[in-house]
């Protein structure tokens, strides 16, 4: 949080996805804006950025942030400020699966450190890096609010709890298999709000 500052180099990067929501998503965005009083449309920024990140390529490029600014009728800088503050928004291209391992105390004393070490071993990357095949990004995160079922990690938006190295191996195997198919699990942000 707070310390991300990799905005500039994306200024020159081309997105391969068009920076535009589909008609139905746009409809949801307009509904979201109506949840806040008139003139306070900026309040919809966090939910809309979640949707944008999910639907427009997995991270927030400058093009995407500018697009969101135009939707909410605010200055682009207001979006950059926010996108760089919150840890769930990514400013760089991520792997297909972002693996976020909880590193905080309660998880650490129930085996979280070993889970992170195991992931580093088998994926041969360090936290903050992505595997060469672009499949996995490994990250350390702070308490996920699931300390009673630690060690915990989040893969994209799904929680995996009471982890063991064996369970992690099995999961990675499943994810590799899934990679060419529709994603497993959870419904999208847009579906959540409908």
């Amino acid at each position: 949080m707070g310390q991300n500052n990799h905005i500039h180099h994306h200024l020159f990067e081309k997105q391969n996805k068009p920076v535009k929501f589909s008609g139905s998503t746009l409809e949801v965005v307009h509904q979201l804006i109506k949840r806040y009083p008139e003139g306070q449309q900026k309040s919809a920024l966090l939910p809309v950025l979640h949707i944008a990140q999910e639907e427009l390529g997995g991270y927030l490029s400058v093009d995407i942030m500018d697009y969101v600014a135009s939707l909410l009728n605010i200055q682009p800088i207001e979006v950059y400020e926010v996108a760089t503050f919150y840890s769930m928004f990514y400013l760089d291209k991520m792997g297909t699966y972002v693996i976020e391992v909880c590193r905080t105390g309660p998880c650490a004393i129930s085996g979280g450190e070993q889970i992170l070490a195991h992931l580093q071993d088998v994926l041969e990357i360090k936290p903050g890096e992505t595997t060469h095949d672009g499949l996995f990004t490994l990250k350390e995160v702070e308490c996920l609010g699931s300390c009673g079922t630690g060690p915990v990690m989040q893969v994209n938006t799904e929680y995996y709890e009471k982890l063991t190295p064996g369970k992690v191996d099995k999961l990675l195997e499943d994810l590799r298999e899934y990679a060419n198919q529709p994603k497993p699990g959870d419904s999208t942000w847009v579906e959540k709000f409908c």
Partner: protein, 458 residues
């Protein structure tokens, strides 16, 4: 007694859905409040109940509500704090996952009492799967006439909206939360003005925790007086405790306030004792921000009384020998836990989560993390220990929001109660360089005699 108030029906299949919830007495409290009680009467019942905020500070809820600026002609807001990011705390998540309608019911009655027509639930973004559950519960309540325009044919209207955060512990602090809800960075505001006068969009606002608000329905059902009979002294009612760490049965438990800590840790009904038959070494009873206590002080106060699960008893002895109930995030450490490593770990957390507005917090958390890293990795000096104490002292009380204190207290208390373990780290660099050193070697040197009660602790 010893009964449950919030989780009574949690095991009923389908209780998450409206129909089953309603069939078990759900929304009767809303009907009672809106049809039979005036706004003032609802407030009076909450006052009588003695309910105190469950978000961490334990501030009396009725009193907080009475501060709300009702003279202003601006709209008023109720914001439900579902940010739950305090390490060790996972009770609100449990409540929302299993009993979403209990929260919605509490929000309707509280909004009625506060004269609020728009309520936001600010939920941490990682709890995405709960957003769908809450949105569904809101839709169901609306379909059945408990939300929307002219609820139950009365003149009262209310909309509730779920608003996701995006990964920032600081957004649990109420003014940072309001900033975040306005679509900004989560930088806490300087108080005063308090949210009761200038909160969301500069309007009078009440911010309450999920558990606090979920308790309002049961209070209306049973009456404030009856609620206040539960618990002990000024810690009325029940409290959700999320227990984790080296125990046999981690999980969320509803306890009546006043339960002895010893029973909570060792009774099979709750934590079920320390896992792998180890000794109890220490407990952080109220989320990572409250002082850590060694086993003897968490079980008994210095006066020799049994320590109880209540605001007053846990705070008995102040910070010299006491701690706080906080959010009820109960973290248990066994004999193998390394207090230095844990303190370093938590300080990393606070350094990472500091919003960076005040120098004592921004710089101080970084310094403490670096010094603790040195000590934990066998590069520490004896003078580092007092240096840590000094840095912690200089953060405490010198910041815009209480995150600074929350970062200072764990460090100060760990050194206060476990100084010998810090010294051991400095004296035995070759031992502690092994990252799995735990405290095995220290045990032999530091462990006290068996308590003789059959309960093993340091």
């Amino acid at each position: 007694m010893g009964g449950k108030i919030l989780l009574t029906n949690i095991d009923i299949p389908g209780i998450r859905g409206f129909d089953v919830y309603r069939a078990h007495g759900g929304y009767a409290a809303v009907e009672k409040a809106l049809r039979e009680m005036s706004v003032a009467e609802v407030g009076t019942e909450v006052n009588r109940s003695g309910l105190r905020g469950r978000g961490g500070a334990g501030f009396p809820t009725g009193l907080k509500w009475s501060f709300l600026d009702r003279k202003s002609d601006k709209p008023r807001y109720l914001v439900c704090n579902a940010d739950e990011s305090e390490p060790g705390t996972f009770k609100d998540r449990y409540l929302m996952q299993h009993l979403p309608h209990l929260l919605i019911e509490g929000l309707i009655i509280s909004s009625y009492a506060l004269g609020v027509n728009t309520c936001y639930i600010y939920i941490r973004g990682e709890f995405k799967y709960l957003v769908g559950i809450l949105e569904k519960a809101i839709r169901e309540a609306r379909q059945h006439g408990f939300l929307g325009e002219r609820i139950l044919g009365t003149g009262f209207s209310l909309n509730i909206y779920v608003h996701p955060g995006a990964g920032a512990y600081i957004c649990g602090e109420e003014t940072a939360l309001l900033e975040s809800l306005e679509g900004k960075r989560g930088n806490p505001r300087i108080k005063p003005p308090f949210p009761a006068f200038k909160g969301l969009y500069g309007c009078p606002t009440v911010v309450n925790n999920v558990e606090t608000l979920a308790t309002v329905g049961p209070i209306i059902n049973m009456g404030g007086e009856a609620y206040s009979k539960y618990g002990r002294g000024k810690s009325t009612g029940t409290k959700l405790i999320s227990a984790c760490g080296n125990i046999n049965k981690p999980g969320v438990y509803e306890i009546e306030m006043g339960l002895p800590v010893e029973d909570f840790i060792f009774s099979p009904e709750y934590c079920g004792g320390i896992s792998n038959d180890k000794y109890l070494k220490a407990v952080i009873p109220g989320g990572s921000s409250v002082p850590i206590l060694p086993a003897d002080l968490i079980l008994n106060t210095v006066k020799g009384e049994k320590r109880l699960m209540s605001y007053e008893s846990l705070a008995d002895g102040d910070f010299v020998s006491g701690t706080m109930l906080g959010s009820g995030g109960f973290i248990v450490f066994d004999e193998d836990a390394c207090i230095v490593r844990n303190t370093w770990n938590l300080t990393h957390f606070y350094r990472h989560e500091s919003c960076g507005q005040c120098s004592p917090c921004r710089e101080g958390t970084g310094w403490m993390e670096k010094i603790l890293y040195r000590i934990e990795h066998g590069q520490g000096k004896m003078s580092d220990i007092d240096l840590l104490v000094r840095v912690a002292k200089n953060i405490e009380g010198n910041t815009i929001c209480p995150l600074g204190d929350a970062a200072a207290w764990p460090v100060a208390s760990a050194i206060r109660h476990f100084r010998r373990e810090f010294e051991y780290h400095v004296k035995h660099p070759e031992v502690v360089k092994n990252i799995h050193h735990g405290a095995i070697e220290l045990n032999a040197e530091l462990m006290g005699p068996d308590s003789g009660t059959g309960i093993k602790y340091w």
